[in-house]
Amino acid sequence: MPIIRVEKVCHTYSPGTPLEVAALKDITLEVQRGEILALAGSTGSGKSTLAMMLNGLLVPTKGCVLVNGQDTRLKKNRRDLWRQVGLVFQYPEYQFFEENVFKEVAFGPSNMGLPSAEIEERVNRSLEWVGLDPETIRQRSPWTLSGGQKRRVALASVLAIGPNVLVLDEPTAGIDPAGKRQILDLIKNLQKKRDLTVVLITHNMDDIARTADRLMVLDRGTVFALGTPGKIFEDHRGLRAIGLDIPYAAEAKSRLNSAGIPVQTESLNIAEVEKEIIKYLRLKKQ
């Protein structure tokens, strides 16, 4: 059963003015419980607009969004929606304002009026979930942390609210390769071990290849493709035409094939492509 249903959603900014922009046009989407759904699209394709609709920060001008059956248009549902669907914005660390990590992560649960023991427990648990040691990090100023650590603290502060769905807007932008890998592994773990549903908004096709179960590609407010990443990434030309790219493994596969080195795997895992290369080299040697 889908946890989020987006039904024939349209969204127009500044309607009826000369600045009118149709950001989303007739979008229908079901986010399944426990999946990692990636949302890709070039700049201005409507990804972030759609993301803000998933927890009622923005309400569609036409159509509706249902989260666990609750309509985001109804005001009485909003408070609950914010708790169920956690939104992590681009560069979330720019929004830090507390003096230490504990207070930063405790901000959400404190606002929910939880007893202090429960707050304590939630902060510790969320920090552990993002791979940070609560004891050593809780008193540190968020500003003294590395880029990757800051990003994980921001993630923990949303997890502390206890959402079922995490919406992540470019979670690895501006993070170095090692930090990037940690964050992607972490997202996978949250899905597998904590049963979270994840909507991952990104321009990074390799991040999608590495983590996503399904992929929706938006182009100027409409659905360009919806399906498994493996299938969608076969359309190199189409994706490039709308300003996207394909992951390294898919690119390698296609270049090798057209150079006469047969690579038969469907996988987007580069290790599988390399196995095929070795097979070819062995045959050639004989």
């Binding site: 900014y13 500044s14 600045l19 922009v21 699209g41 070039s42 700049t43 201005g44 972030s48 681009q90 560069y91 720019y94 590395s146 880029g147 990757g148 470019e170 932008a173 501006g174 993070i175 170095d176 390769p177 090692a178 930090g179 321009h203 096709m205 390799d206 490039r240 709308i242 300003g243 996207l244 790219d245 390294y248 690119e251 390698a252 270049r255 090798l256 150079a259 006469g260 080195i261 580069i270 492509v273 390399e274 290369i277 070795i278 070819y280 080299l281 050639k284």
Partner: protein, 278 residues
């Protein structure tokens, strides 16, 4: 060392943030020549942004000195001139936009330095064209998408016609197509106008296009050379918390599996070419 060509030079520069125990950048000695394209790579916290902010006097050295076109950045009388010569674009565009309309935002800098209206219009048009924002010129910046805002920040900097443009991960929020497009437009602009460019990035494929790469780690420049020289040194990259290009990694793994591949494969073209010739 101090030839005519050195546009910016760092002489033994260290910088300590308030309360910081170790320097964010440590004894930097380096030069940027006129018209040169330098890519700066390094893990988060390696000192890249601190280094960049010294190039137009946004930060002043705790030790050592920075000269821009011969002017010491610590000389407050020269700050305005230095900032006109060296433009800066940051990662987060929201902090850099000031006006109510896109074109006004781009015109803000040129107006502030008192240019003629005709000149302002010419510069704004050219900058909007380079950034691919011509058809959005009459929109309010807050209605732009994240990537469009980033393009706008770049246009604003270009309209000042700097001799050197310092970009701190300006493509982090752009889609792959936009990223390639902006970089090639910047390269054209650089070629036409002889503008130097310092480009901070995490993306090896962007750094491959530069004349010179600086690799930073723990506040120091630990490598300074052509992209080819620097990228084949996997131990150095590892030490800096960086990853070789994906094609180099594939080549390295094939090598480990017992196949004889050269060390200097950096992209897929080179990899496929070599495999075909085997």
């Amino acid at each position: 060392m101090k030839t005519e060509q050195n546009f910016i030079s760092f002489d033994g520069v260290s910088y300590f943030y308030e309360g910081g125990e170790s320097p964010a950048i440590n004894n930097i000695n380096a030069e940027i020549r006129r018209g040169e394209f330098i890519a700066v790579l390094g893990a988060n916290g390696s000192g890249k942004s601190t280094l960049a902010r010294h190039m137009n006097a946004l930060l002043l050295p705790s030790r050592g000195r920075v000269l821009v076109n011969g002017m010491d950045t610590r000389n407050a009388d020269k700050t305005m001139e230095i900032r006109r010569l060296v433009g800066m674009v940051f990662q987060n565009p929201d902090n850099q936009l000031v006006a109510a309309l896109v074109e006004e935002d781009v015109a803000f800098g040129p107006e502030n330095i008192g240019l003629e209206p005709g000149e302002i219009i010419a510069r704004v048009d050219a900058a909007l064209r380079v950034a691919g924002l011509e058809n959005l010129r009459n929109r309010p910046p807050h209605l732009l998408s994240g990537g469009q805002k980033q393009r706008l920040a770049i246009a604003g900097a270009l309209a000042m016609r700097p001799d050197c443009l310092v970009l701190d991960e300006p493509t982090a929020m752009l889609d792959p197509g936009g990223r390639k497009e902006i970089l090639s437009l910047l390269l054209n602009f650089k070629k036409e106008r002889g503008m130097a460019m310092v480009f901070i990035t995490h993306l090896m494929e962007e750094a491959l296009l530069s004349d010179r790469v600086w690799v930073m780690a723990r506040g120091r420049i630990i490598a300074d050379g052509s992209p080819r020289q620097v990228f084949r040194d996997t131990r150095l990259l590892d030490n800096a918390g960086l990853e070789p290009t994906p094609a180099a990694l594939t080549a390295a793994r094939l090598k480990k599996a017992g196949w004889d591949l050269p060390d200097d494969i950096l992209d897929l073209d080179e990899l496929v070419d070599f495999l075909c010739r085997l």
